[in-house]
């Protein structure tokens, strides 16, 4: 069991954003979480890494309870969170961003090159000089250096050109297979078909509740019904 969430309720200040969420994720799985805005997708990730939200319930990572651990401890256990803005440090160069991830001044680029050749030209550029899409991809590439077992992605393909989207999705599959990272992956409802290309399982959030869970094949058959949940 990679990740286990038991009856999670999460709150932003006075507003409850998640209601009684239960989730089980096996090693090596890719789970897509879809839903309209304000459904609580991001809140789900933030509750896992324990930032900005107050919550009740239990969260276990590899059978270790991490519900109330400080974020950096959770990260050290092997969870890497990528926020919707990519999470590269502005003002720092890409290589510096990678050094931070490696916790060392020396980072071997060869492997990164293999996953994403263009990285070479970006190394010495400041993170904030990259386009939104580039930033997100580089942040995903950074995970190769971080070496997590579980990857938490917040809308990684949002605002990307279609070509980039496909590239990113291939990249995620590659990370999953070759770096055996399990991936909990958030996208807006519109991306459902893209998500289904590689996800083992999808899960629909609406108004803070899980309204649908299903294996991808099953989901593909029921896609029209699912779209109702997504208000589209």
């Amino acid at each position: 069991m990679m990740l286990k969430i038991e009856s999670l309720n999460a709150y932003y200040s006075r507003l409850q954003a998640l209601f009684d969420i239960n989730l089980e994720m096996n090693k090596g799985e890719i789970i897509g979480v879809l839903g309209p805005n304000g459904a609580g997708k991001t809140t789900l990730l933030k509750s896992i890494i324990n930032v900005e939200v107050s919550k009740t319930g239990r969260i276990l990572f590899k059978d270790v309870e991490i519900t109330t651990l400080p974020t950096h401890k959770i990260a050290s256990l092997g969870i890497y969170y990528i926020p919707d803005y990519g999470g590269l440090f502005p003002g720092l160069t890409i290589i510096e961003n990678l050094q931070l991830a490696a916790n060392s001044k020396y980072v071997s680029i060869d492997e990164l090159k293999e996953f994403y050749p263009p990285i070479i030209d970006l190394l010495n550029r400041k993170a904030d000089s990259l386009s939104g899409g580039e930033r997100k991809i580089v942040s995903i590439i950074r995970s190769i250096v971080v070496k997590p077992e579980l990857l938490l992605l917040d809308e990684p393909t949002e605002g990307m050109a279609p070509v980039m989207v496909d590239r990113t999705i291939k990249l995620l599959k590659k990370l999953n297979e070759e770096k055996n990272m399990s991936i909990l992956w958030i996208e807006p409802g519109a991306k459902i078909r893209k998500v289904l290309e590689i996800a083992d399982k999808i899960l629909i959030l609406a108004a803070g509740r899980i309204v649908y869970v299903g294996e991808s094949e099953k989901a593909l058959k029921e896609i029209d019904e699912i779209k109702k949940y997504l208000f589209i």
């Binding site: 974020t71 950096h72 990260a75 440090f89 502005p90 003002g91 720092l92 050094q99 991830a101 060392s104």
Partner: protein, 287 residues
Amino acid sequence: MNLEAFLTQTLVGLYTGSFYWLLTLGLTLIFGVTRIVNFAHASFFVLGSYLMYTFYIYTNNFILSLSAATITTGLIGVIFEITLIRRVYKIEEMYQLLLTLGIALTLNESQKLIWGTSPKYINMPELISSGVAIGYTNISYYSIAVISIGLILFIIIHIVINKTLWGLKIRAVWRDNIMAQALKINPYLIYTTVFFIGIALAGFGGALMIILHPVGPGVGDHLIIYAFIIVVIASLGNITGAYITSLLIGVISSLATWLAPEIDIVIIYLITIIILLLRPGGLFGER
């Protein structure tokens, strides 16, 4: 107007400025990383002076007392960080400022109780007598040393911040605390070390200063104002700015005392106000 006097005053200004720098460097580092404006910083500076005084009385060894004073001050700073300041990182900055003000009052007053109200100084003629003569006046090697130390520190800090991994972590926390944690960096460790360094530097400055200037009650109250003026003009959190502005204010004030003694401090405040009217973000403001 005569050149010699001008040069002398400028040099005097430079070493006064270097003391300001030792004060504002820590203030800047701490603000940059923790977002806390440490009202008590000058009190730690003065604490450094007093400790130097006491250690010197017992050991009679300059270097030993200097290092002891520096480290002790830093450690006391850490104690305050862990026990008190750590509790207010996440709340309104108003309260952070108020807490450090409370700490400042506490420190200043306990210093009065421990070391009394009469000014204390260390008399080391051998250190300050020898020097280079500029015309009639004599600039001691000691004050020149102070200036050089300031410069060296400036360079070292830059290397540490921009070239080392640890400096990289500091910048990371500085920029995006949450992402830093997502990359396994423990921010509290960074905070505490930065507090130690920042406050140790203040203590170091204080310890150096007591050789040249007697230290007594009120010195802290006065210094914190200068420190604040400098960091605000330099734009809070900007290290290079803090260094340049410290020297600038040092020189300006010493020239002012020479040319217009009757209105010297008035000039400093006037300049501050004008600068902040023209450049609300300070001279070296990024955004």
